[in-house]
Assembly symmetry: C2
Homo-oligomer: 235 residues x 2
């Protein structure tokens, strides 16, 4: 089985991607980050998801992005609530964490170089997303090109690094459908930016709004726990 590094947060997207990568025969080495995020509960969720799928290796990388601030996810700035999806597509929101995916991918690249892995999975999505610059296909393509110049494997011409983004062109509804077809149990996942003390989702941040739209579009209901269930109109 070819080794691969997979960025796992334990949310809807990365858990679906994990099921997808395992289904396609990859030997997954999962990586998650404690980066000063207000939703650090996702680290335990990532552990639970990795254990559920029998992933041998889960590295939790400690980095302190609070040193920079500048995001509602890492500073004392309120997380926006109940934004329409159309609004998310226009402009970069306050939940954007500067260069976060670039930092995440760079640690994944380092680990891949050591493992001799050529595949790095990241669950970015360019359709139903929050307008983050580092989720777009042109960014991923540029990252891959850079990665192939940065590392031992790329230079020695063994095998090129591939940044795999199986969710990039899927809607949230299609991601839910993919996960359901692979038997993903979404009750164990957490997508929320601002979860409660017991790990329940808020139901109102961008991540919850997009997730609930995904389940609605797939004609399914979300089995995850919500602190304040959203209105029927939004489900």
């Amino acid at each position: 089985m070819p080794p691969a590094v997979l960025l796992l947060s334990g949310g809807l997207d990365s858990t679906t991607m994990l099921a997808y990568a395992l289904h396609h025969g990859f030997d997954v080495h999962a990586m998650t980050f404690r980066y000063g995020q207000r939703h650090a509960a996702e680290i335990e969720v990532a552990r639970r998801v990795a254990a559920h799928y029998g992933v041998k290796d889960l590295v939790v990388v400690d980095i302190d992005l609070r040193a920079f601030g500048g995001s509602a996810l890492t500073a004392d700035i309120a997380v926006p609530r109940d934004r329409p999806v159309e609004e998310m597509r226009s402009g970069i929101p306050i939940t954007y964490v500067p260069a976060r995916n670039t930092i995440f991918l760079s640690f994944a690249l380092a680990w891949a170089d050591v493992l001799g892995a050529t595949d790095i999975f990241i669950g970015v999505n360019a359709l139903d997303y929050s307008g983050y610059p580092d989720c777009r296909p042109e960014y991923i393509a540029a990252y891959e090109r850079m990665a192939n110049l940065a590392t031992r494997g790329g230079v020695e011409g063994t095998a090129p690094v591939r940044i795999r983004t199986p969710l990039l062109d899927r809607t949230k509804g299609e991601i839910v459908e993919l996960g359901r077809s692979l038997g993903v149990d979404y009750s164990m996942t957490l997508s929320c930016y601002d979860p409660g003390a017991a790990g329940e989702a808020c139901g109102h941040c961008d991540a919850c709004t997009l997730r609930l739209k995904g389940f609605a579009d797939a004609g399914a209901s979300d089995p995850a726990a919500y602190a304040h269930p959203p209105s029927d109109a939004r489900r």
Copy 2:
């Protein structure tokens, strides 16, 4: 003065680059890393250099690259000694830390995005260097292109990110000459991969060999402290 983020290790290259950036009127925000390197003494050297130059901001980022291993700088692997410079140019040595510059630049990019800085200085050198893939001009160009797709500034079309590499095409001798013309006191710098307990350089690792070649080529002598002074032939 335009703000800039500058990667500072306190070695010959980054200290020369700091003097250069200040001479060119940049408001320098310096960043250094505690990454599990055996030569962690360089962090105190970076602090000393930053203080000497009156740099207001020095962020020390804590990351643990030992979690991956794979390098003589972060694992229990001996640092090679007394390699000829020609040998350094062929192949990637064991002191290569996987994706290290990619990780360093990614943190610098995050900080630059928050500061609204468009200039990131990194003291890479593609002539007298140790054969690291992430020191080559094509790597830097690809990183810059990626960075302009990754972040707020790049996307909102304000000002493009520039990865500034003033040392890229200079020999070590030319770097020493540049620094001396800018009045750099090299006695406070440390380049060694394997320094002694008192912070003295070993005189035999690749970094010491290249540094000493630089001073020799510039017709100068290195004022730094060495544990085992290299032979006259190598000075």
